[in-house]
């Protein structure tokens, strides 16, 4: 019996015992004006430009507002901006801010703050860097108007300013935004609907956000990062719980109100509790990744990479990740998020149907593989990478590969995967990761799909065809052109095996039934969330 079995059994017993019982005394005494939330991870730093972890982005969305926000239809909508104009040649964008915008220190939000914020953001964001590369000037025209002049058109400008992928273009006061983008800010004066209570911040344990009463929400209904961000509680407390069983028990006991991502093992227990609602948290889900090093044998040969694709069973990976709950996963013969406008399966035949080990072995032999060790660096402290790593070890062994399985932690994988040296000299042959589906709806923030060799993400794939089609997407002027380009990106990236997708999977979120207004989305949205006693 292992620790996970014990906690599941005990949490289960607790859940059964509590079914039909009312909330305990501890919960009844809690204030309905405070929402207690268990986030997916610890908020260890709070600079959304310097640190781009999802948890930082999620917390920052409470504290800082953006010029535009992407809505549930994945469309950019005005947020801090009142209006925008672009010249006929598409090279000059002029934006006007809404009146009455204030920072948490009471100062008005001015164009100079926006200019400084966008400059800092652009230095760290992939789309921002593309804009910087063609920027002529970014200037404040007056207190509420600013202008971005480019040397050539950039059709995805509004999407870049609205996207929810980290780093988002959060607006900060000029004096803070002038901080070097590679150094951390230490002052957290926001422009969003909640203030960060720095004095109550215990990194690793607790973060507190208080309602900013001077925030002026938009009149439109809230939709993801767009629309009226109306805060209906006075205070939101983020309580970090490293142990999932503790979080499950705390939710059942009414000590917390909302658990962002319960592990799938404990979901059946939570579903049995009549005081708890459970639903898919982020409909855009995640894409599992089997990332190969294109610089060194055997995966520097496309035949070896294709051999892996031919043998790889996404069902094996997904079942290892989410168990028997078939609503939580689907096969993904491609790289883009299912059920989004640009989703495509073009070129995805290699990942479909019965797995052909004989053909894969033949292809592997043709690649020149002759039994040299294949170094798989697998983080054991992340359940997603561990589960994928176990399946991969089995897969590669079945293919006849000599697996050098390096079981380590995520911090080590993070450092080692940056090494370009051969595997025997500190490098690697493959590692696992996963990408938020929100990052994979198009190439804008999809670093992992880039295939520009040395400049590409770890593994350094070099696929000119993939890059050509990505450029075509950036230049596309309408949805049809975008779809055509993305289809070709998918096809080219699968032919050259930029990386091997291991499937698409979803996760749950759970909350007590006295909490209402929780919406599905790529991050937890706290606007319109209320709590009754």
């Amino acid at each position: 019996m292992d620790r996970r079995t014990v906690l599941k059994g005990l949490a289960g017993a607790g859940g059964l015992a509590l079914t039909g019982l009312s909330a305990p005394a501890i919960a009844q005494g809690a204030s309905a004006r405070t929402l207690r939330f268990v986030p997916q991870a610890n908020l260890a730093n709070f600079d959304p430009i310097w640190g781009t972890q999802y948890v930082v982005r999620n917390a920052a969305a409470l504290v800082w507002d953006t010029l535009y926000g992407v809505d549930a239809k994945l469309q950019p909508q005005r947020q801090m901006v009142e209006s925008e104009e672009t010249t006929d040649d598409g090279k000059t964008w002029t934006f006007k801010l809404r009146p009455g915008l204030k920072f948490h220190d009471g100062e008005p939000v001015l164009s100079k703050d926006v200019v400084a914020s966008l400059s800092r953001w652009a230095a760290r964001d992939p789309m921002g860097l593309m804009i910087l590369a063609i920027q002529q000037e970014l200037t404040a025209v007056d207190d509420r108007t600013f202008k971005w002049v480019l040397k050539q058109p950039f059709p995805k400008m509004l999407y870049a300013l609205a996207k929810n992928n980290a780093p988002c273009s959060f607006i900060m006061p000029e004096r803070i935004a002038k901080t070097d983008p590679f150094k951390q800010i230490t002052e957290y004066v926001g422009s969003g609907p909640m203030k960060f209570a720095k004095s109550e911040w215990v990194p690793g344990a607790k973060s507190v956000f208080e309602k900013f009463t001077d925030y002026v929400p938009r009149q439109e209904k809230a939709s993801w990062l767009a629309g009226g961000k109306n805060i209906l509680v006075d205070r939101v407390e983020w309580l970090v719980m490293p142990d999932p069983a503790t979080a499950a028990a705390a939710l059942q006991n009414g000590e917390v109100d909302w658990w962002e991502n319960p592990i799938s093992d404990l979901v059946p227990v939570l579903k049995k509790n009549k005081n708890i609602s459970v639903d898919i948290g982020d409909p855009l889900g995640n894409i599992g990744s089997f990332r190969m090093n294109h610089l060194h044998p055997p995966f520097n040969n496309v035949k070896a990479r294709r051999a892996v694709l031919m043998a790889l069973s996404q069902e094996d990976y997904m079942r290892a990740l989410v168990g028997d709950d078939d609503t939580l996963w689907k096969p993904l013969p491609g790289f883009f998020t299912p059920d989004t406008p640009l989703y495509t399966e073009l070129g995805g035949e290699i990942l479909k149907g019965k797995r052909d080990f004989d053909a894969a072995k033949k292809l592997l032999a043709e690649s020149g593989y002759s039994g040299q060790p294949v170094t798989c660096v697998v983080a054991q402290d992340q359940s997603i990478t561990k589960a994928q790593g176990d399946v991969t070890a089995d897969l590669l062994k079945k293919l006849g590969m000599n697996v050098d399985f390096v079981a380590t932690d995520w911090g080590t994988v993070g450092a080692r995967r940056a090494m370009k040296t051969p595997p025997g000299q500190g490098g690697w042959n493959m590692f696992h990761s996963w990408h938020a589906g929100a990052d994979c709806i198009n190439p804008a923030a999809y670093t992992a799909i880039r295939a520009n060799g040395d400049k590409a993400w770890f593994g350094w794939p070099n696929s000119p065809n993939t890059e050509k089609e990505i450029t075509a997407w950036f230049d596309a002027k309408n949805l049809e052109e975008e779809k055509a380009a993305i289809g070709q990106v998918n096809k080219a990236a699968l032919e050259d095996v930029v990386y091997a997708p291991t499937g698409f999977f979803l996760t749950y979120t759970a909350w007590r039934k006295n909490v209402s207004g929780i919406t599905k989305g790529p991050l937890p949205f706290f606007w319109d969330v209320s709590k009754s006693a």
Partner: protein, 313 residues
């Protein structure tokens, strides 16, 4: 005695210096990179390198070590790579919960374990003795997290008497403070109760065979007086030693307990810092822990002189 204590405190300095060098070197050569964690999964290698430079992690070992030592000598433990908060402030935030947990656990352990050991020795071979020793084996065998989950299930989920998790500072009231510590202290204390009960029993058994105990009985002293005044005092040195070792071991046990009961203590801070490679925080905590170890040993030595007048320094 005072000069002895001062000598011992001064003698901790080289120990601390060696610990500091060892920890710094170990972290320097250990795999992992905080810049990677900060930059996020999608960051480019160039971004990671720029962050490393910003943090000063690209500087040579000697320069990094030298500047760290210089700061330590000025009473500055440095700044967390991740939070930008002073390490001393972060440790200060976490010290209260861990000290509370250790104090309650230690008191519980001593109050329960010593009498159990004494009674087991007094009733050696009887059903009571066997029951106490069976409990001790049980306490040794059960992992802290299993005890923790079972206690949380019974007393928090089932009976709804106590909270599942969290910590309330003592400043907000004695009962709210204690309420959060009862279950973690029992979970953490089980193994130490077992350990100290067994040591107490073994030592007491030996003492109870001594001639002076027979003399005490012969002159008509009551059982309580014999056990708790004459025998226990003579058995105290090994018991105090084990309690001291227990205090040191509690620091390790607190890591698991704090995770299971979501107590924001030093144990969790340590784990978080290690996983993130937050070097200044790890170094600060290790220095603190090593100082505590040395201090506990000193305290034990001092307590020896109180329980055994023959021991003098």
């Amino acid at each position: 005695m005072l000069s002895y204590i001062l000598r011992r405190i001064v003698s901790t300095l080289p120990v601390m210096a060696i610990v500091a060098l060892f920890v710094f070197s170990l972290l320097y050569i250990a795999p992992g990179d905080p810049a990677v964690v900060i930059a996020g999964d999608q960051a480019s290698p160039e971004d990671v390198e720029r962050i490393r430079q910003g943090l000063g992690l690209d500087r040579p070992f000697l320069i990094q070590f030298g500047s760290w030592v210089w700061r330590i000598l000025h009473g500055d433990l440095g700044t967390s790579i991740f939070t930008s908060l002073p390490v001393s402030a972060m440790i200060g935030q976490r010290l209260g919960p861990t000290l509370s947990l250790m104090t309650v656990t230690l008191l519980l352990t001593i109050v329960v374990a010593v009498p159990l050991g004494v009674v087991a020795a007094w009733k050696a071979g009887s059903f009571i003795d066997r029951a106490i020793m069976a409990f001790a084996v049980f306490g040794f065998s059960l992992p802290v997290f299993v005890v923790g989950y079972v206690l949380a299930y019974i007393f928090a989920l089932e009976l709804e008497w106590l909270p599942v998790q969290g910590y309330t500072p003592l400043t907000e009231g004695f009962w709210p403070w204690l309420q959060n510590l009862i279950l973690p202290s029992i979970a953490l204390g089980c193994v130490y109760i077992a350990l100290i009960a067994r040591i107490t029993r073994a030592t007491m058994l030996e003492v109870l065979q001594q001639d002076y105990i027979r003399t005490a009985r012969a002159k008509g002293l009551g059982q309580g007086g014999i056990l708790f005044v004459h025998a226990l005092k003579n058995a105290a040195v090994p018991i105090v030693t084990v309690i001291g070792i227990g205090i040191a071991l509690l620091i390790g046990g607190a890591v698991v307990t704090e995770s299971v009961f979501a107590i924001p203590g030093l144990g969790r801070l340590t784990i978080d810092a290690i996983l993130r490679r937050d070097y200044p925080v790890i170094q600060g905590i290790v220095l603190l822990f090593s100082f505590v170890y040395v201090l506990v040993n000193l305290m034990i030595d001092v307590v020896y002189t109180l329980v055994d007048p023959r021991i003098r320094y």
